[in-house]
Amino acid sequence: MRRERVPIVVIVPAAIGAAFFILPLLGLIVRSPWRDAVTALTAPETLEALKLSLLASLSATAVGLVLGVPLAWIYARVEFPGRDLLRALTTLPMVLPPVVGGIALLLAFGRRGLFGSWLDSSFGITLPFTTAGVVMAETFVAMPFLILTVEAGLRSMDRRYEEAARALGASRWRVFTRVTLPLIAPSLFAGAVLCWARALGEFGATITFAGNFPGVTQTMPLAVYLLLETNQEASFILSLVLLLISLVVLVGLRHRWLIA
């Protein structure tokens, strides 16, 4: 079979474009001090940051599922005035600079914020600069990915399966848990993984709203940034760990979401 020749005006910019992504990865892999990898990874500060990152990102995903799935369901199934506006507002963080999100969170939930002052005076709850604040910042930035993915799943599923279940005597709750959720499981999974990956990498909103306290609010991305000043080698290794996680997520999702 004759293969069509690719024009040179396409090849050159395409090659530069590919190199633009590959070279930084290469730099990270080649320049990482592999001999010191174990020491860097097992350093108490690193482990602390890693633990906090996992805890916060998984919590953000859990919160995202509990709050985001019902929101997605309402967007997909209920018609009401202002639905499009509400959807736009709840997905705004996808395009908002994270640092702006962090400032907005401070103004709402900060000690002297709109609701924060009330939370503080009524319940003695302060959110900024706590681990809960990290979870909030990450949820704020990451949950929109879950909402949109799950909503798309709900919209594309054949709703007559739900009717079939109802005709078999299933209550609304049973229909939702036994039919709807299993049928949108691929979207649910993809949405949760995207949400988790975004939460794991979250930097701007977290440092603005929750600060950078080791063991309390210092997640992996913050630790990497900080180590760049004091211990470059360790920051390289941690970067590599984050890269690896992203790669695994991307490969795992390839068939479920990114291609389709």
Partner: protein, 350 residues
């Protein structure tokens, strides 16, 4: 013990206004062309779509009534529903599909699995209990869908085009099976179909609807012998005329007069079987009372017979054998004479 429903609703282009009553033990086929509102009516009876006014009563119990604002949700109606494409839950195996309705109605897991197994036995699919629906053939899926609908022992079984998703070769066999299962079910059975063969094979009574309205109801033989709409006449393959009877003839719309032996008076239907209509190249001599010239507008070969549509003072379809057609040396557009006897015209009041 019966189903009584009176439903009026508007849905897109459809304007549905139907009243149906089905007695205990009856198998009724709801027959009509695509878009007649058959499935909509079925869904309304099941409580899956709201209607503007009317009611649904089953065994005297009100399931829905717009005048009193009563609505029993679908999940609390004692119904079984078989969808056109079955809608077996793809994430559950065959046994769990059949057990779904039992579990939904509160039966413990073990008992539900046992009963579902019995149902699978009954439809001959016990060995497929752990298979996923995607591993089954169309006919097997149909049987699972039926078992799933029947397992919770509904009072009313609703089937929407139960054979439409099957290919022609398996359809006849599955229809026999379905007939057997329908016979063994004791409640009220309503089958939606657009296939007259299916309707006649499965049902004790036909309800024919067109554009959301009832056009005819009766035993299959009665409906096919005395069609009351062009749709049914076309399904059965007969010529149907409507006109004013008087003195052994029927005056149809447009003024043409057809001699008909039984015609007395009043508004009537006249049915003429295409086999009774003879075609000639020259004006025939002899006794037939109805003779007129026409033009063969359409010739269609159907197995061992040929249907010729003839435009004339009354457009009619004649049916001849292929060899008769060769002798006539007839092509589309050819001029012909047609004739039929007054005694071959069946007349009944409109």
């Amino acid at each position: 013990m019966s189903l009584e429903a009176s439903i009026r609703l508007t849905l897109g282009p459809l304007n549905l206004d139907m009243e149906i009553t089905i007695a205990e033990g009856e198998v009724v086929a709801l027959l009509g062309p695509n878009g007649a509102g058959k499935t909509t009516l079925l869904r309304a009876v099941a409580g899956l779509i709201p209607f503007e006014s009317g009611f649904v009563r089953l065994d005297g119990k009100v399931l829905e009534d717009t005048s009193t604002n009563k609505y029993v949700p679908t999940e609390r109606r004692p119904i079984g529903l078989v969808f056109q494409d079955y809608l077996l839950f793809p994430h559950l195996d065959v046994l769990d599909n059949v057990a779904f309705g039992l579990r939904s109605r509160g039966m413990p897991r073990g008992a539900a699995a046992e009963k579902a197994g019995e149902w699978l036995e009954r439809v001959g699919l016990r060995s497929y209990a752990r298979a996923k629906p995607s591993e089954l053939s169309g006919g097997q899926r149909q049987r699972v869908a039926l078992a799933r609908a029947l397992a919770p022992e509904p009072r009313l079984l609703l089937l929407d085009e139960p054979l439409a998703a099957l290919d022609v070769t398996t359809r006849a066999e599955v229809r026999r099976d379905l007939k057997r299962h329908l016979m063994s079910f004791q409640g009220i059975r309503l089958v939606v179909t657009h296939d007259p063969l299916e309707a006649v094979a499965l049902a004790d009574r036909l309800i024919v609807m067109e554009s959301g309205r009832l056009v005819q109801t009766g035993a299959p033989a009665e409906v096919t012998e005395r069609p009351r709409s062009q749709y049914v006449a076309d399904l059965v393959g007969v010529n149907l005329l409507r006109g004013e009877a008087g003195n052994g003839s029927v005056q149809v719309a447009g003024g043409a007069v057809v001699s008909a032996a039984g015609a007395e008076s009043g508004e009537v239907f006249a049915v003429i079987h295409p086999r009774a209509v003879a075609i000639h190249r020259i004006r025939p001599e002899g006794s037939p009372r109805n003779v007129w010239p026409g033009r063969a507008s359409h010739i269609e070969l159907l197995g061992n017979r040929v249907r010729v549509r003839i435009e004339g003072q009354v457009p009619l379809v004649a049916e001849v054998t292929p060899s008769a057609l060769r002798e006539l040396d007839l092509i589309e557009g050819g001029e012909v004479w047609l004739s039929f006897k007054a005694t071959d015209v069946g007349v009944y009041p409109a």
